[in-house]
Symmetry: none
Subunit: 532 residues, 2 copies
């Protein structure tokens, strides 16, 4: 069974998604970690961003599981594949696999391609043969297959045969408009398989809300290649969602389609990809949503106490998710203990301490903090509570490297249209008052630089720290600029990377809190002793 992901191409068509090359590389790494077999990276030659992606992916990523796939169209009508610039760009991408989109609906051939039905078949044969001769593995996406089959089944099947006979490894039946229901998909797929003998794949859009079921219906009928996108991102309503499709194949069909251990990473990877595309992870997504195994009090809660399997269709740990009772705390004691263990801090024996950490996490999450993507901030919180000791009273040993007296950031738009950003910080470290001013290309950058200028003499380890990523999320979006702001910062020292979170009523103050944590954690990591 091929697990084929097209988040980077079809997923990027979703309204609100706009991926940079860096975003695409990050997502490709997550998908490879998850263990998909194929990652469709985009349409090289059609836009410069996709061309750059293939060049950089080749250099920067060593794939462990996946093969990179370039997407493109069959050659132009009346030309030859060998002379087609668009086809050449597919070869130039260096991708070992190419997906060619071909028209399979007679009306589209005539209205959109404006060529004859015979020439369209010849375009498929010529392009597939040419790519095969150049050593590429070829999949052919038959666009609008199911609508085309309804209108002219003989022609739709002729396209499948043309692709298969010319050397395509898989012919993918696409429900491009997404209007199909599972029974139709299953019947047509079974007939096409029987009549053509080609290896078949399925590409389903979610316009009827049935994309996952349509994908599985094709598998039931004999398809052995499923095209999906992470979190179901895609044009209009979206594509078949990779995660429930893979979970169904693994857990309901009992087929092994992922590497050992990968399924348990599914929830984390789903959320991580949502962060990269800057969309809030869907709370109600099957298997991976935070609500997917949440239970409200009442009828179910008492039964769950008897036996959790009475009210859940799978053990949530299989997909890296967990059960949540909505009346009780989100950050349960067990998960705090597990998290501590993961960070190398054993909390197992200390119930009072774990209880205090749970309370603090709950209180801070209520204020807008999110520790899921900010391990370093969570570890600082944990260490603060550890330092207080079992009874919560202790507070003797220093835990920080500096104290903040005040700071200020100014952004100015001058009459000539240029911007000036200036920040001043006033700090205390090792009994010394430190004052520094710096400029930057924005107020946060200026604050970051001023912080370094102030501290670098006392903590030379800071010189190695560099900001790697910076994300802003406005919470409670219905109140405009009056909202709470959460900032996530990733910082690196060339060796490791760590993430911190800050929350405040405005973006500058939130960034400052995340920066403070980032520097504190980095110095702890470097083995420096806290002085404050």
């Amino acid at each position: 069974m091929h697990i084929f992901d097209t988040t980077l191409r079809d997923g990027a068509q979703r309204e609100g998604i706009n991926l940079s090359v860096a975003d695409k590389l990050t997502i490709a790494r997550h998908l490879d970690d998850f263990g998909v077999g194929f990652i469709e990276g985009g349409w090289p030659g059609a836009n410069p961003r996709d061309t750059e992606f293939f060049a950089r992916a080749r250099e920067e990523i060593t794939f462990r599981h996946a093969q990179l796939v370039a997407f493109g169209a069959t050659r132009r009508a009346g030309g030859s594949a060998a002379d087609d610039l668009q086809v050449k760009a597919l070869l130039d991408s260096g991708a070992p696999v190419v997906t060619l989109v071909a028209k399979a609906h007679d009306r589209h051939v005539e209205l959109a391609l404006r060529t004859t039905l015979d020439e369209n078949l010849e375009m498929v044969r010529d392009t597939v043969s040419h790519l095969r001769a150049q050593g590429r593995r070829v999949f052919v996406d038959c666009e609008h297959f199911f609508d085309g089959y309804a209108a002219n089944p003989a022609y739709a099947k002729a396209v499948v045969r043309a692709a298969s006979e010319a050397g395509a490894d898989v012919v993918v039946l696409c429900d491009t408009n997404g209007g199909m229901l599972p029974a139709q998909i299953q019947a047509v797929t079974a007939t096409v398989l029987a009549d053509t003998g080609a290896r078949l794949g399925i590409h389903a859009q979610d316009d009827t809300g049935c994309a996952v079921a349509n994908t599985l219906a094709a598998v039931d009928a004999g398809a052995t290649h499923v095209q999906c996108t992470a979190n179901g991102y895609g044009e209009r309503v979206g594509n078949a969602n990779l995660f429930p499709v893979v979970a169904a194949l693994e857990l309901k069909y009992g087929r092994t389609v992922l590497p050992e251990g990968a399924l348990a990473e599914m929830t984390r990877i789903s959320h991580a990809i949502a962060e990269v595309v800057n969309l809030t992870p869907s709370t109600h997504q099957p298997y991976v949503g935070v609500s997917a195994f949440a239970h409200k009090a009442g009828l179910h809660a008492s039964a769950i106490k008897v036996d959790p399997d009475l009210y859940q269709h799978i053990d949530p740990e299989l997909v890296g998710n967990r059960i949540r009772m909505l009346v009780s705390d989100m950050a349960g004691r067990a998960s705090i203990e597990l998290k501590g263990k993961e960070l190398g801090i054993d909390l197992g024996g200390d119930r009072a301490l774990v209880g205090r950490v749970v309370e603090r996490v709950k209180e801070r999450e209520l204020a807008g903090y999110s520790y899921e993507a900010a391990d370093a901030s969570f570890e600082l919180l944990l260490r603060d509570e550890l330092r207080r000791g079992a009874d919560g009273a202790g507070d003797a040993a220093p835990s920080r490297f500096f104290r903040v007296e005040s700071w200020r950031a100014i952004t100015e738009n001058r009459p000539d249209g240029t911007h000036a950003n200036e920040a001043t910080v006033k700090l205390w470290a090792k009994d010394e008052r430190l004052l520094a001013t710096a400029e930057g290309n924005g107020p946060v950058n200026a604050l970051d630089r001023a912080l370094r200028v102030a501290l670098e003499r006392i903590y030379p380890e800071l010189a190695k720290f560099a900001l790697r990523d910076y994300k802003v999320r406005i919470l409670e979006g219905r109140s405009g600029t009056d909202s709470t702001t959460r900032v996530l910062i990733s910082t690196g020292d060339g060796d490791a990377e760590w993430s911190t979170v800050g929350v405040a009523e405005n973006v500058i103050a939130a960034s400052w809190h995340a920066l403070e944590d980032a520097y504190t954690y980095g110095l702890l990591r470097a083995g420096v002793e806290p002085a404050e």
Copy 2:
């Protein structure tokens, strides 16, 4: 075919939903407008809110299409239905129809009900007969039916027979844990129908992402009663979504299940119910999401100009939705023209003008702009180019309401830990120099306020504008705070809402640009003549 809605009972189990009696009455009116046959209002007697709902619904609502349904359980083990207080509360609710939940899984009877399999059958018979004798129509929900059938098919069918023989009008097979796939639902439903002859219904949860397909699979197997919730609200992942189920039955199966004209109200009713439960309507919901008929790819846009049916599975007007063209760097001339038409600006005849707009959009999107979520900024760009005329030379008429001389925003963290945010703007409008300073809870809020203070005397229309939403996206995420920032702002005037975009090297400057566009567009909308 029964269209049975359980938004008010099962839908209310969704994490984040908490309905008042007034909310429930409003939703019941919307569902009746939509034309569902049955509205399950809650569990009278189990909580005072539901008891009050039934009392008030009887007095306050004249249902045109729907019948009100009370939900409850079979009588207690060892008692009699006639003496059961919970059963009495169902009768007292005055609802003409009662849904009884019954256990159909042997293990649940023993572990959760703690009674014998025979007594459970007797509880079903006794309760159904009693309610029938009191003149109520009865539906029986067989909880965990499919899991129960897998474990003990004879017993699961015995429960169906007991309910049916005692006078239940419909026996509903429930996938309570939501773990089923369509093929399983279809096979079991067909067998149960053949073996029992009972009228069957289906109640599907969405834990595998297949609830809509599971519902339709049961219909394919002969079920004639579908239980759904508006927008798929429900426990954990949710329930089968009423809207795609009804749309499939009407548009794909060709069955009339709604009153004349109701389907075209579907988008409005879906959004209205989302407003009542205080959840943002899902943008990507099948049929009714604002993205459900949105097109981004240039490939598709040129084909849509030829014939919209090439790239949509139904005419969006059938469900009260509409086609939307998204302007993005994937878009070519065709989508710009279609977008112009959507905004009421005809660009059809002017190839040079469209070419210039395409170039400007490409250039700005390369700089980080994104117009797909910023219609108002795109319209301003379009109007700027229109004003220049066909040759691009004209620039005579004023197009803006103010000129910016300079602005400044200061964020300060004081030694006492409080923050101060202050902004100053210097503007020109109608030959007057305007200078204003204001404070806010963040630098952008302070800038927004200063802008209003400066302009409100000259443009009193501004008083009605309010910021509705604010989104920040850091582009090129691998370079920390040195990145480019994109800000999207939604502004409203109580009547309409519009979205603008700003891009700059820092968040304050980007916000400023989005604010400038927001105020300019709002004044144009209000019919004010540009003065600059």
